[in-house]
């Protein structure tokens, strides 16, 4: 078995009485989409936040590209190639679409402290940004303000920014949320393409998407991973059906 790109080992995180992460262990292997499912409030976003470095775990260890990153901040982890999309779009809403994507290109190149040339006219940044927009199908909207985009277009823009980072792993927090059927389908196609570039840890409520995309699925309930397995195993697992899919076994 190939060395995992990302490994979470025994991570615990409590907010007062709420155990948001309860001894969570999971990994992300090269070339896979690992879906993380679970009911609302199960602790999925909290786990992503700890993987990204925005929240410090109470206990446990996070390894990325074979290096212990538990003590590193968000900025350092991002620079190592960890790209995330937010459950609630975090974009510069007053800025144009192209400027939002350029930000990713600038970050990836470590070019934020360049002063002399226009970001928009920098060939390398621009090419990288345009390629990402092209890939998510937002090239036509490049001069629109991010705040004027539809909800679905914002989700796509989130993914485009992550793409400009040429990451070693994607973390995506409900990229299909609120997209509708055709939007979800388009996003599903996009994620299938992205998987070739880097493995994806995918949080998603849309079960059709999860079942068609995921190589492995982990189920998180009340901060605990109760099961990890293939899509077929997940469909068959009685405890999962009871706990998550809400069916009688």
């Amino acid at each position: 078995m190939a060395e995992p790109v990302l490994a979470v080992e025994g991570v615990c995180k409590s907010f007062g009485m709420v155990r948001a992460s309860d001894n969570v262990t999971l990994d992300l292997r090269p070339g896979e989409i690992h879906a993380l499912i679970g009911p609302n409030g199960a602790g999925k976003s909290t786990l992503i936040e700890q993987i990204c470095g925005g929240l410090e775990p109470d206990a446990g260890r996070i390894t990325f590209l074979g290096r212990d990153v538990t003590g590193l901040g968000t900025v350092q982890r991002a620079r190592m190639g960890l790209a995330r999309t937010f459950q609630i779009s975090a974009l510069a809403m007053e800025d144009t679409v192209i400027e939002n994507v350029l930000l990713g290109a600038v970050g990836a190149a470590g070019g934020a402290f360049r002063f002399l040339r226009s970001a928009l006219r920098d060939r390398a940044f621009r090419a990288r940004a345009e390629a990402a927009l092209e890939q998510v199908g937002l090239a036509e909207e490049r001069w629109m303000r991010a705040g004027d985009l539809s909800h679905g277009q914002r989700r796509a823009l989130e993914v485009a920014v992550a793409l400009t980072l040429s990451p070693r792993a994607f973390l995506m927090d409900e990229p299909m949320a609120g997209l509708g059927a055709s939007g979800s389908q388009r996003m599903t196609g996009l994620l299938r393409e992205l998987k070739a570039q880097a493995p994806i840890l995918l949080i998603e409520h849309d079960m059709d998407a999860v079942f068609s995309l995921a190589d492995r699925v982990s189920v998180l309930v009340q901060g605990r991973v109760i099961f990890t397995g293939s899509v077929a195993e997940i469909r068959a697992h009685p405890e999962v059906r009871r706990a998550y899919l809400g069916e009688d076994a």
Binding site: C52, G54, G73, T74, V75, Q76, A78, R79, A83, R84, F86, A90, L91, A92, M93, E94, D95, T96, E99, N100, L102, L103, G104, V106, G107, A108, G110, G111, A112, F113, R114, F115, L116, R117, S118, A119, L120, R121, D122, F125, W143, V161, T164, L165
Partner: protein
């Protein structure tokens, strides 16, 4: 050309035409007034980089204005009394050369901005406003209680400092110098805005978590912006001192910080020529209304309220509409 570009051109031209007219009409006082406005505009251009681009509401930019002023005052006073500033470990003498004074003023302001920024930028919101205010107040009281350079009474400089090839005592020549510096600082602000740095700074104001997620530290962006901002405001302070041939602790006062902020907000926050429009309007109002009533600040306050309530983008926003930003 966008509407804003046309407006900017008109503002830049108007700023030149008015004092030229005053010069031909032999109204040196009006030239001095225009010079004052241009200096305030520079101070505002500086603050705009922190406040407008970075979203950093600094109520302490008087610190840099004052440091620039005292850099001039200290260097020039040593030159006029022929006493060295420092004899040991090496000799430092005063100077009456504007370019040297400007460089010292900008370096001192940059260092102060780095130090003040490094501490204040760990906070945000109301705390940031209060901490920047507190730093400026500290310098204010320091200046008052430092007798070597005039203390409370301030420090007069008898002859305006020199610039190679110009007679700086001639109002129109000194204006030309200040005007050129104003355009230069606007050019710097434009460059900063369009650069990758400006793009990231602008994003950090709106969505810091996004900026972090692409591997850029918002703190470092803000610190750099604060330093550039303070440097430009410091230059304005040196010019202001030279205009008045006088430096006093009042340059460090919170009223000064407030006024610089008024230039920016009145003119249009984050608009390239906002501080230019704001400072010109401020000086015009002060001149026209100040003669009519001692309470002209009340009118200014009412105007500011109107601008903030109805035209969030100040005078430039009202005249040029929403910003169209490309390239």
């Amino acid at each position: 050309m966008s509407r804003e570009a046309v407006l900017n051109l008109i503002l830049a031209a108007g700023f030149l035409v008015f004092p030229l007219w005053a010069w031909m009409a032999e109204e040196p006082f009006l030239i001095t007034l225009a010079t004052r406005a241009a200096i305030f505009a520079i101070a505002g251009v500086g603050l705009n980089i922190a406040l407008g681009y970075g979203g950093l509401v600094s109520l302490g930019h008087a610190a840099f204005f004052g440091i620039g002023g005292y850099a001039m005052g200290i260097l020039a006073s040593h030159a006029q009394t022929y006493t060295p500033l420092l004899e040991w470990p090496f000799l430092v003498e005063g100077t009456k050369s504007m370019p040297v004074i400007w460089i010292v003023a900008m370096l001192a302001s940059a260092l102060a901005a780095l130090a003040i920024g490094a501490l204040s930028l760990r906070t945000s919101g109301a705390y940031f406003i209060m901490i920047t205010l507190a730093f400026a107040q500290m310098l204010y009281y320091f200046a008052i209680s430092w007798p070597a350079y005039g203390g409370e009474d301030g420090l007069p400089i008898y002859v305006r400092n020199g610039f190679p090839g110009l007679n700086t005592l001639d109002p129109i020549q000194f204006f030309a110098l200040v005007y050129a510096l104003m355009l230069a600082t606007i050019a710097v602000a434009a460059l900063v805005r369009r650069a990758p740095f400006g793009l990231a700074l602008n994003a950090a104001r709106q969505a810091p978590e996004r900026v972090r997620a692409v591997g850029i530290s918002p703190y470092r962006l803000r610190l750099a912006a604060f330093a550039i901002s303070g440097t430009i405001t410091g230059l304005a302070g040196a010019l202001f001192a030279d205009l008045n041939r006088f430096v006093s602790p009042a340059m460090f006062s919170w009223q000064t910080s407030g006024e610089i902020m008024v230039f920016v907000i009145l003119g249009g926050t984050a608009r390239l020529f906002g501080p230019v429009a704001g400072a010109a309007l401020f000086i015009a109002l002060e001149h026209l209304l100040g003669g009519v009533s001692d309470y002209w600040h009340v009118f200014l306050g009412a105007l500011l309220l109107l601008v903030v309530l109805f035209g969030r983008n100040g005078v430039v926003g009202i005249l040029a509409g929403q910003e169209a930003r490309r390239g």
